[in-house]
Symmetry: C2
Amino acid sequence: MPLTHSAPTGRDTSGPEQLRAMTEQVEDGLRTFLARERFRWAREDGRGAEPARAVSELVGAGGKRLRPRFFLSGYLAAGGSPSDAPVRAAMALELLHVSALIHDDVMDDADRRRTRPTVHARHADVHRSRRWFGESRRYGESMAILAGDLAWAYADHLMAGTSRAVAEEWFALKSELIAGQAMDVTAAVELTPDAGLARHIAVLKSGRYTVQRPLTLGAMMAGRTDLAPVFASYGEALGEAFQLRDDLIDAFGDAATSGKPVRQDFGRGKMTLLLALAMRSDARVRELVERGEVDLLHERLSGGTVHAEVEARITRLVERARAALTAADLPPEWRQELATAASLVAYREK
Amino acid sequence: MPLTHSAPTGRDTSGPEQLRAMTEQVEDGLRTFLARERFRWAREDGRGAEPARAVSELVGAGGKRLRPRFFLSGYLAAGGSPSDAPVRAAMALELLHVSALIHDDVMDDADRRRTRPTVHARHADVHRSRRWFGESRRYGESMAILAGDLAWAYADHLMAGTSRAVAEEWFALKSELIAGQAMDVTAAVELTPDAGLARHIAVLKSGRYTVQRPLTLGAMMAGRTDLAPVFASYGEALGEAFQLRDDLIDAFGDAATSGKPVRQDFGRGKMTLLLALAMRSDARVRELVERGEVDLLHERLSGGTVHAEVEARITRLVERARAALTAADLPPEWRQELATAASLVAYREK
């Protein structure tokens, strides 16, 4: 059964046009799939429909759709033809990401995401306002665990039926995401000023999960495994740039623009790449982290040279990502498209 | 690559013997798979290996393995031959269950499971004893969310590559599990004395998830879809018996025997089937639930006729489950095996 009613994209259109058409199909597909799921459960019992509603609302609230974009770019750059299977896989990547966001927001106790209350915050509020039995925090977090589990189940369902090689890559992506998050959460509470560890976490959580694995999955689904090393180099460099930008948005960005709370990371002693660099060059920073002096820390980081150093590093990483594409066996339009994507990711505002 | 080194089970052995042999292969498979996963992550970083360690430990701590057992029974009863795919699917069912247990224990704030500290309780203790930064509860729950996510990812990985029909059934099982839990968690905080709702939750969480779907998945993997209605009747009746026994163990059982805390459900106003029956026939019970009077409630339930009524209902449900098998197109040895399984489930002590 086709997921969308869009007209098929002809083989004669350019690559970037195909990317735009498939991106629209992904959006349509997500809307249709989630509306059907909400309806299915709401007919039975409103309580049981709540996780589907929460997932649907967060997907509908926007987001950058970076992983679907990289996946579809990898697929089309590798010569894949537009069809249902890659559209479903791109939907799966976004739903897995939504699952990770819902669960991560519990771990970070974040109150906003994509400009709305996070799933656990919203359900804790419902619990409080209806004066339900028990603890509002636990109820909110329980519903968020379930909504995240459901988005994860959706992702796997949409990815079912792929080849063994694609299934292995999909599993690698998911297990790295989890291991990277476990390292991140633990390093944050240990207050380990270990720049190497922070970089390793960024490689797992951003480089591989956001860029490299989606690109490689796409290329594999199109039948090309030879592009894996190119996408590994591109993804490793761009992933670090992605993470550094994330850290800068948290440290110096604006909550209204980013749609989520800022100044969360160093307030919790989260071992970001930014903080690892700063703690390495400045003993005072470490002291402020340990004392939880968020405002002083912010001042110290703004005033010093760290901010400018990190911007310079991002520039070098984008150049490195682009350089990885130069020698790749890719159509020129796709080298250009991926070079553009690198800038968008590295210089985004949210 | 075969999962185990056990000798292949010959086609001339009896069904129950094949069941025993495949059950051993599932245990070997789980051990081997989880040992490999722990090793893979431990080589990189101990922090990242923690979710795999937690999953492996909980699987190793035992459990009744009901879902693998029903799945393999469904597969063999439907004429399937012993092979790797059903062994992997049975492993997947156990790992999905472990995932659900880890996440449910967070939602219930349970401190013990399979005679050991729950994942979140253990990690909160580690956080406290090492005097790490931040809140011990949040750290413990974060690690449990991740361990549950990882067990879920393992389950899906082991289930990859099955037919579309099996994938649909697997998705149905997972989404019902989540919707059932959302209904359960919400009904508990609402304190709704709704016996119909409690029964519907028991159908989703126990009947379908524990009995019917595993049996049907097994039959489907063996290529027989005609058994679905038989397994639906058997599963619905036995699932309710399973849930009533669960409620009785919680209400009147012994923590040492069950390996998990008892008297949790009605202390939290959890709308169990047992409680729904009791609240319907006794206004005093409802009052005690609302006031959180666990000891008085226990006394009231022990003294009344509820306990005996529930035992009588379990007996009728087991008879109904067995009756569903009578007319089924199943080899006699499998009708017998499933009748035995019904008693084991309904009259278990933990």
